[in-house]
Amino acid sequence: MSAMLTLWERDIVRFFRDKPRVIGGLVPPIVFWLLIGAGLGTAVRVPGAPEGLNFLQYFYAGTLVLIVLFTSIFATISIIEDRREGFLQSVLVAPVSRLAIVLGKVMGSSTVGLAQGAAFLLLAGPAGLHPGLHGYAAAFAVLALASVGLTALGFCIAWVLDSSQGFHAVMNLFLIPMWMLSGALFPAATAPRFLRAVILANPVSYAVTGLQRALLPSVVPDGAASLSACLLVLAGFSVVMLTASVFVASRRDSR
């Protein structure tokens, strides 16, 4: 328990000491949001959405998920760095369970993701979203579960990879497309059928839908998952990824 807490604390201290990372996790998604959202503005009409909806508003939930995804990417990089710089070797020979190592890292990184997501939630009002207290609470719950799931996914990837070069390939071919195919940029309804299947199977979609339900229910298409279904899928995804993380971390390979 104390081992998990100490690794958690370490990650948070490191995060706030690393100013470029504080900025790098939050500012690019906001810039994407403003550029893509304002650029498309009212030019794109989201099918099924009420008249006069600005794309900035549609894209808001997707941006929140992007912030969380960026944190998971940083988490992955930090594990590769921990291994390369040698810190990890001392943790691995300490009397600490692999579960505590996984939880410490995942909690540390997802706390950071959640804090950044919460900071972005402050822009909901100015963007014209008025979800109310209940909506904010639901959005927070979705973000928390999505952060845990995605950072645990990052943990698995980082543990298996041994170079940051390999990581860039994974990021571009896997993590970013996971976000693109989640309804974050365009709704599933406008996608070709084969992509719709991918969107349906993609856990990130449930983060986007969950956030839309919490913050802007009017854009949620008919037949999409309910908020509780989204929370359930994300919780399941988190448990699966955490289990996988403990599994990969328990292998004692000779690296």
Partner: protein, 318 residues
């Protein structure tokens, strides 16, 4: 009871892409008594680091057994870890944290907390003369200072068995002296210490050493016993014609020196009496002749059949 019992340890790194499988340890067995300072001496690439990492519970060997304080290190690494203090060759510090924070997290990973931990941290900081640097980020420290922090971190929980991998890497002579004095203090306090080294003078400071070459222990014992195995003195001759001279010495005196480049080396009792005979027999052909008491380097050469320094390069060239 022995602190460490290693029997028949074999480790093979599996083949990876174009790199063929490599046997790093080949049937290694040794024991370390409680309270002993034991050295694993050998050239780079001889298998020391693999052995160190297996003992540190980083990974399991291909086969063989290793028992530490009566607990099976391979089947149940978790039972051994609380008693182990591991000092890695390349510091395992978090460079973005301060010295104090590194010790704090290091101590907590070993189950220390609260006032016990802060008292231990203060103790270690002052012992390693790190107190004035406690608030500095580890990334800003020199190599020697970082190694001191590494040692302090590894010893916070007062481990019963201390494992060190090439502990004097990156240390200046004064810091090395310090380190060894500290190891002696820890030994006096009852700790069992196992260190790898490729430095002969460090081997000399150990109670016992095992010489590891090409994955095998070629000799083990106290440094003085290993040196005594070599009959008498070591005579080293530098010459322009090593192979010719070797053959002539064999013909004339019935002993065959070992030739390494332009150097001939032979072991001989009462070497001081033999040198004048050599000089008179081959006038003008010996550039220098020297006589020495056998060193651990000679013991390595005697058992491994090659020079220690050549062993490094041979491995590096692979």
């Amino acid at each position: 009871m022995n602190a460490v019992d290693v029997k028949g340890l074999i480790h093979e790194y599996p083949a990876k892409r174009k790199v063929p499988a490599r046997r790093a340890l080949n049937d290694v067995s040794f024991s370390v008594a409680e309270g002993e300072l034991f050295g694993l001496l050998g050239p780079n690439g001889g298998g020391k680091s693999t052995l160190f990492r297996i003992l540190a519970t980083s990974f399991a060997p291909t086969s063989g057994s290793a028992v530490l304080l009566g607990r099976d290190l391979i089947a149940d690494p978790a039972s051994v870890r609380p008693f182990l203090g591991v000092v890695f060759q390349y510091p395992s510090l978090d460079n973005k944290l301060t010295v104090q924070e590194n010790l704090l997290h290091g101590g907590r990973l070993y189950g220390l907390s609260g006032s016990t931990l802060s008292a231990r941290i203060d103790e270690m900081l002052s012992h390693y003369r790190l107190t004035p640097r406690a608030g500095d980020l580890c990334g800003t420290l020199s190599g020697g200072l970082r190694r001191r922090v590494e040692l302090a971190k590894s010893l916070l929980h007062k481990p019963k068995v201390i494992l060190l991998d090439e502990p004097s890497t990156g240390l200046d002579p004064a810091a090395r002296q310090d380190l060894w004095e500290h190891l002696m203090t820890l030994k006096a306090g009852g700790a069992t210490i196992l260190t790898t080294t490729h430095l002969m003078d460090e081997g000399d400071r150990c109670d016992r050493v095992a010489i590891l070459d090409q994955g095998k222990i070629v000799a083990q014992g106290t440094p003085s016993a290993l040196k005594a195995e070599i009959g008498g003195d070591v005579i080293t001759i530098e010459t322009d014609d090593a192979s010719g001279l070797r053959d002539e010495i064999t013909k004339r005196f019935g002993v065959t020196p070992q030739a390494f480049g332009g150097t001939l080396r032979l072991e001989r009792a009462a070497g001081h009496a033999f040198i004048p005979q050599l000089v008179e027999a081959f006038p003008g052909r010996l550039k220098t002749v020297s006589l020495s008491r056998p060193s651990l380097e000679d013991a390595f050469l005697h058992h491994a059949g090659r020079r220690f320094s050549d062993s490094h390069t041979e491995v590096a060239a692979k």
